[in-house]
């Protein structure tokens, strides 16, 4: 023990330690929620695609990173344009987000038209491979043709660096914004599926493709809308990633896509609520394993994939999934 300092009583060290532990715990919960929100949105996209077409679109991760690049590029142009008032700036930034989201959605529709539709009656292996190919192409195009695309990019700071204190936990404005975006998006998805006509079309084709077509539902249009929305969700997750971590790189999409797919499988492929649950479960596992297992942060992905493997062995249908019957 050090000599010169008054030795703190045992009580107070315990108090400080306990305090620090609980703060770390709260921080981890915050991190998990931030990460889980991203995974959930990507996973909902996977679930929608799978429901509509019975295909897994492996380039979801590419949509995610594509949107981040488009958004960041346009935002830095805006910031370079000179000083605008905070209200004008906010409106334009929002418009930019909306625009890049829609652009990504259109790319999603384009991908469906060109590389998924031709394989509608082909073996299921084909769309897996073709969408992986699309993912590689998008990623490489970003790397090669975006200015300095192979280096890590910085997402522009658009929110003020202040925040609120919740007890001892500091929550910044950008984190609050992410939380708000997540809730709004989830409500919007719920509204889309339950309350709109085209949403009910999407549900109908996911229940029975042929019967839906026979009932006069425009199947192609419903699929197009599904892909637009799925890619938009990936785009929103991409923005959240950019806002929260502020640094991104062209090859981050692949991992995010695979995590999102894993989350949708853990939750039960085909179920939107399952995708949200799966996303948060994966995020919590990953974050807590990284924080509390020694040497865990370098191999944090091992834990989330471990959860996935566990589910595939013990409960392949996922948390909410129905047990699939073999179709002959």
């Amino acid at each position: 023990m050090s000599v010169g300092f008054p030795r703190p009583t045992d009580d107070s060290t315990l108090l400080v330690k306990e305090h620090a532990v609980s703060l770390v715990f709260l921080l981890q919960i915050k991190n998990s929620i931030m990460l889980g929100a991203q995974y959930s949105l990507i996973a909902i996209g996977f679930t929608l695609f799978f429901g509509a077409l019975n295909v897994v679109v492996f380039c979801q991760g590419a949509f995610y990173i594509l949107a981040t690049f488009i958004g960041a590029g346009l935002l830095s142009l805006l910031i370079g344009a000179g000083h605008l008032g905070p209200i004008v700036f906010g409106c334009v930034a929002f418009a930019i987000f909306f625009l890049s989201m829609c652009l990504t959605g259109l790319v999603g529709v384009l991908v469906e038209r060109t590389t998924i539709k031709p394989f509608r009656n082909a073996p299921l292996v084909m769309p897996i491979l073709s969408t992986i190919g699309v993912g590689i192409v998008i990623e490489q195009l970003l790397k090669l043709f975006y200015p300095q695309g192979s280096n890590p990019q910085v997402f522009p700071e658009i929110f003020p660096l202040t925040g609120v204190m919740l007890g001892d936990l500091f929550i910044s404005v950008s984190e609050l914004v992410i939380l708000a975006i997540t809730i709004v998006t989830l409500v919007a998805i719920w509204f889309f599926i339950k309350k709109t006509k085209i949403g009910s079309h999407v549900v109908a084709i996911s229940q029975d493709f042929e019967a839906a077509a026979l009932m006069g539902i425009n199947v192609d249009r419903a699929i197009m809308v599904t892909f637009f929305i799925g890619a938009c969700l990936a785009a929103i997750a991409g923005f959240m990633n950019g806002i929260y971590y502020t640094v991104f790189r062209y090859d981050m999409g692949a991992m995010a896509g695979i995590k999102g797919f894993s989350a949708s499988v853990v939750g039960g492929l085909g179920s939107v609520y399952g995708a949200v649950l799966g996303g948060f479960l994966m995020a919590f596992t990953e974050t807590f394993a990284a924080a509390y297992i020694p040497g865990g942060s370098a191999i944090r992905d091992v834990f989330s994939f471990g959860i996935l493997l566990l589910f595939l062995i013990l409960r392949p249908s996922g948390i909410i999934g129905e047990k699939a019957l073999d179709k002959v």
């Binding site: 897994v56 590389t115 292996v125 590689i136």
Partner: protein, 383 residues
């Protein structure tokens, strides 16, 4: 009864391909090799359109033994042309090593219809086990190679177990998860060298002769790569033989049956569990052997060579060549290794090239360059 087609067509074709390969490999100028690639592509399209290709195929299938012998002679003669150019030999050896791995992958992707993205991981497991045994315990290459194969086979079995309940996407997801998990673990263990990898892996020694040392015989300098190239060719020959026999055995039949219809093959009494696990184990054995050959060839092994991208690249090779066709897989692997090496200046565009090749093959020619033939049974000959 159809007349047997003459061996001459096949002979001419083999000679032409041999000459084309030698010319292509010998050229060092990039613009010229680009022109040559275009020329070859046009020539092969012309070949198919004029119907010459059908004659060639008939000729090959009617005289398989003689033409195989001829091809083997050509393949063995190829390194002789490049004794003064070790770089070409290096590429050829690398391509042959990858061929061994993709032949194994073809068992899973082509024959059984299970898209496995973890072949890169098995490649790495074979390489690491072999290199570590040689480096830490001084085990000879001839023991560490089978050890690497067995380790890869064991992990193949381990990965096969969770895939038994899954199909299609879920199966691919299991293999992707396995590829990432093994990559991350190897990257973060201390005894694997972590991100630094393993350096100074010794070359194999056969009867006191170190394969990979330069030898001068009667004024002719034979580069060390040439010996290694011949050794890899021997391994490739064994791998081809094994894969061919497997394809024509009940194993191959069972795998094809599972690919075509799981439920009906189960109704006919096939054990899906057993057949699928066999496909995984056999495929990983090939990958393990390829990995061990690679580690001892380059002399350095790091996690970069066992990443998910390598597995993806191998799947591309199988798709390009033709699923469930061993000759096609060889062609696909050679093309995807050699062409990017020849166009070195476009190295940044390599992954883009792979992605575009994958998409365009799936869209325009999903059966691959050389499609697999339907199985043909002659009861009298008992093929």
């Amino acid at each position: 009864m159809k007349d047997k087609s003459s061996i001459l067509t096949g002979f001419i074709f083999a000679c032409a391909v041999f000459a084309a390969v030698i010319i292509f490999m010998a050229i060092d100028n990039m613009a010229f090799s680009l022109a040559l690639i275009l020329f070859y592509a046009l020539a092969s399209i012309l070949l198919v359109k004029t119907g010459f290709w059908k004659k060639v195929r008939n000729s090959i299938s009617d005289n398989p033994k003689k033409l195989c012998l001829l091809t083997a002679c050509f393949v063995l003669a190829t390194p002789l042309f490049f004794f003064n150019n070790p770089y070409v030999l290096h590429i050829l050896t690398l391509a042959c090593i990858y061929c061994v791995a993709t032949i194994g992958l073809n068992i899973q992707v082509g024959s059984t219809g299970m898209v496995n993205f973890a072949q890169g991981a098995f490649f790495g497991i074979g390489a690491y086990v072999s290199a570590l045994l040689g480096g830490h315990f001084g085990v000879s290459f001839w023991i560490s190679l089978p050890a690497g194969m067995l380790a890869a086979g064991f992990f193949g079995l381990l990965m096969g177990l969770p895939t038994l309940k899954t199909r299609e996407y879920h199966l691919s997801l299991v293999t992707i998860a396995f590829a990432y998990i093994s990559f991350l673990l190897v990257m973060n263990f201390d005894w694997t060298g972590g991100p630094d990898g393993i350096a100074d892996i010794s070359k194999p020694v056969l009867f006191g002769f170190k394969i990979g040392q330069t030898v001068t015989v009667g004024g002719v300098t034979i580069p060390g790569v040439a010996f290694y190239c011949y050794m890899v060719l021997a391994f490739l020959g064994i791998a081809l033989l094994v894969a061919h026999r497997l394809h024509n055995s009940w194993y191959g039949m069972a795998w094809n049956a599972i690919r075509d219809d799981e439920i009906s093959s189960r109704c006919y009494g096939l054990s899906l569990r057993k057949s699928k696990l066999e496909a995984f184990v056999f495929g990983s054995l090939f990958a393990g052997a390829a990995g061990a050959l690679y580690a001892h060839f380059i002399g350095f092994m790091s996690t970069e060579n066992m990443s998910f991208q390598i597995g993806l690249l191998m799947v591309c090779m199988v798709i390009l060549g033709g699923m469930d066709n061993i000759a096609g897989v060889l062609v696909g692997t050679l093309l995807l290794i050699v062409i990017p090496e020849k166009l070195r200046a476009f190295d940044d565009y390599r992954m883009l090239f792979y992605g575009l090749v994958l998409i365009s093959m799936l869209l325009f020619r999903p059966q691959g360059i050389i499609p697999s033939k339907p199985r043909f049974f002659d009861l009298k000959k008992r093929v």
